[in-house]
Symmetry: C2
Subunit: 467 residues, 2 copies
């Protein structure tokens, strides 16, 4: 297949379609999802702890008109695999792990439109402090911030925070709901729009009559404080959340402006997209108030054959045990207890409830432990091919499932990301499936063009504020 020839076809005649959301999916450590690829000669992952690494990432993403960088995070080190942290430490899976929040301001300094999704944990971060951190980021980035609300995966995080056990899944989500609504009150209620008036003649920076104390007495949290930040461009940062289980799905449908659907095949994703939108409508929101994204892994070269060759090269660097460690961490299942030929067990655990079930649903064949070790199989949006092959499959898959976009998983980086920007982005643009320039304004304004950049009154943040 000759990419350049295809590019010459009159693709402009294709019907206009919505632009896909494309984020780079990153974290603060050398390895994230696909274990072992940090050892590839083209990978710079082992310099994850330098500023240049992050500045280069940000510039690469903005040059390719990507929407943002979605920064995952975990606290502590998973010890699910073999009941100890050794596998994670060896493979570099989320360890060592920088605080990803801190890399954002430097990346904001070298970009203008690129947005940043940052994970913040409702189980272990103090809401008063996290609210200020996110407002600070929203100020410094001129409104290019999303908060990815998580409740935490690892039992080991509880012990790192001085607690005996990680709270039970349903309780974590109930607490997260209260926590998130409290955050909304800091962001939406504490400061009126014209509170920080900067009245120089009268030497009044802010008008105390327009700054309000938040007094919260809840089931999980009680506090009394004035938010430390004046209203940031978005006030409440854009809300990201992942939904896979019943509780998580309900949380995402209620709060998320962009819901992350982890795992799952075509049918499962199509169903989850519809389910989230139905639940959002039931909660008084519009179906379009929630964008949806899935993870995707893409290996692209000029031709299908070259891409396949590249993929085969990557396989030499894969760390099979590391992939099992990563899956064990996410699903809370100790895969060291199984043989490579065993089918993947469909268990419900206290980690990512429902994700394990989703992983094994709708597979063409029974998924085995060996499949998990090689990472690719079982992933629908695992695309290897020429620019046209990748773009066609991606667009078709997204249209068919109703999904709005993807989080591009790391493979050999920044090579993979640069190739995506060079080769796939123009193909998507030619199909009318990707922007040719950024929308002006905040992250919310970019994701919901035509909006004010502030939340609609249908969102619980505004309802909470109005109550």
């Amino acid at each position: 297949m000759a990419g350049p020839l295809i590019l010459a076809l009159p693709l402009k005649d294709l019907p206009a379609m919505k632009h896909l959301i494309v984020n780079a999916f990153y974290n603060g450590s050398p390895s994230q999802s696909w274990a072992g690829l940090w050892t590839h000669p083209d990978s710079t992952a082992d310099s994850y702890n330098t500023l240049d690494y992050w500045l280069d990432l940000a510039r690469t993403c903005e040059a390719g008109f990507l929407d943002g960088i979605f920064l995952a995070d975990t606290l502590a080190i998973s010890d699910v695999y073999e009941g100890k942290p050794d596998g994670a430490i060896r493979s570099g899976h989320f360890v060592p792990n920088l605080d990803p929040m801190l890399v954002i301001p430097s990346m904001a300094a070298v970009t203008k439109n690129l947005c940043f999704g940052i994970t913040g944990n409702t189980t272990y971060e103090a809401p008063y402090l996290l609210a200020r951190r996110l407002s600070t980021l929203d100020h410094l980035t001129s409104g290019r911030i999303a908060w990815n609300v998580v409740t935490g995966l690892f039992e080991s995080a509880a012990r790192a925070m001085g607690l005996k056990t990680h709270a039970e899944h349903a309780q974590r989500y109930e607490a997260a709901d209260e926590y998130t609504r409290l955050m909304y009150r800091f962001w939406e209620e504490s400061w009126e729009d014209d509170a920080a008036i900067r009245d120089k003649p009268n030497k009044v920076f802010s008008d105390p009559s327009k700054v309000h104390r938040i007094n919260h007495e809840g089931k999980f949290l009680s506090l009394n404080a004035i938010h430390l930040s004046e209203p940031s461009p978005q006030r409440t940062p854009l809300i990201f959340a992942a939904g896979s289980s019943g509780t998580g799905l309900q949380f995402a449908a209620t709060h998320a402006e962009c819901a992350f659907i982890a795992y799952g095949r075509r049918d499962h994703v199509r169903k989850q997209v519809q389910q989230i939108k139905d639940m959002a409508v039931a909660a008084g929101r519009h179906a379009d108030d929630v964008r949806t994204i899935v993870p995707a892994t893409i290996i692209v070269e000029e031709t299908d054959a070259l891409a396949e060759e590249r993929y085969q090269d990557y396989l030499r660097y894969v760390d099979g045990t590391g992939n099992l460690v990563a899956r064990a961490a996410l699903l809370g299942i100790d895969f060291s207890k199984y043989s490579p030929d065993d089918p993947v067990p469909s268990l419900t655990t206290n980690a990512s409830r429902g994700a394990g079930v989703a992983l094994t649903t709708g597979a063409e064949k029974v998924m085995t432990i060996r499949d998990l070790m090689s990472y690719g199989p079982g992933r629908d949006l695992f695309l290897v091919g020429s620019p046209t092959t990748v773009a066609e499959k991606l667009v078709e898959w997204c249209e068919d499932t109703g999904i709005d976009g993807i989080n591009l998983g790391r493979n050999v980086e920044p090579y993979g990301l640069k190739r995506f920007c060079e080769l796939v982005v123009p193909e998507l643009q030619a199909r009318g499936a990707f922007k040719r320039e950024y929308v002006e304004g905040s992250m919310r304004a970019k994701l919901f063009p035509g909006s004010s950049g502030r939340l609609t009154d249908r969102h619980p943040a505004r309802k909470t504020a109005a109550a």
Copy 2:
């Protein structure tokens, strides 16, 4: 007085002396110490919430060879003055207040040698999370980070964190000592130097046998975790602490590599410098292991007359009540209950124990509330004059007291800082009292030239690790 003529004198004949430490003293809000100056037409303080403001600050400081930017912080809003937050809100004193930790990575991206002191609160931040944040900053800045250990000033912070009251002063310091030693264990013990081995052929990022769990069961804290960061350039960031009271002074003498002596006149400072060094020696350290700095306010123009004119201009913008609010916040004394002619009461409170006493010690006349309102009086290092006047007084004062340097307080900024760099720095350089280029390496290597950049075995961080 003609500055340029003075510059032509053969100052190189003066005896060589130690280089003064000069930091810019900043915080994440429009007003810090000298209330009202944010309203001056030359001040950009009201854009404190933009990235450009911080990038400009960092570039200015590095162009002038300043050592660093010392970032103060407070949690919540002081409600000491009139028993309510209105005064602080009106004057902009630490409110609105960005999280200053987040501005550092962007400033690091545009500088190479400038260092950053960041305040971190031992009463309200979770040690596991703060340890990772500081390690992350030390990585991203290539070792240009100091941690300013504070226990917090405001009762309102306790309520913002869901507690009933702010812990009592002595107990806060006892807890801070345990907390700081726990931080050392994360930084010095959890990862051996060759743990993060990056062994590509064997696909081993880190060697689990060289990564250690910290199991801490203390009076105030109990936790069990592996630090999430591999060793950063300094491992333990340079330790800053302020000492004014007995407890605070003991803490600084034990832990600080740079002690901040707030307030006080010449005799008081000379005494405190000696006291800290004596206490450090008693704790098994060397007198030179602790550098000492004081706040200074400097207004400099080409001539004494022009500087005085500039000072008189500033006085038109001063917010007298705002200055009382700031002093009330720091000292825990409600100055609204006094008349302008009343002497400043010498009280001990739960805020900054001893600072109130220091403020009123050794004054040539009785300090009144009115003096506090005008900010300048009562400050020994409040220098207004030509470059030679300022440089001479500064050098003489520092030599006489034995202090190692200054935190340059904000007046009208960035104008004041730029003038300092343009006019005073060359004068200090000509006297051999200021560096002409940066020392290579980490913050510790810069502050203690010839050191390895890691802590000496005399420091409690190393003793804790060795135990």
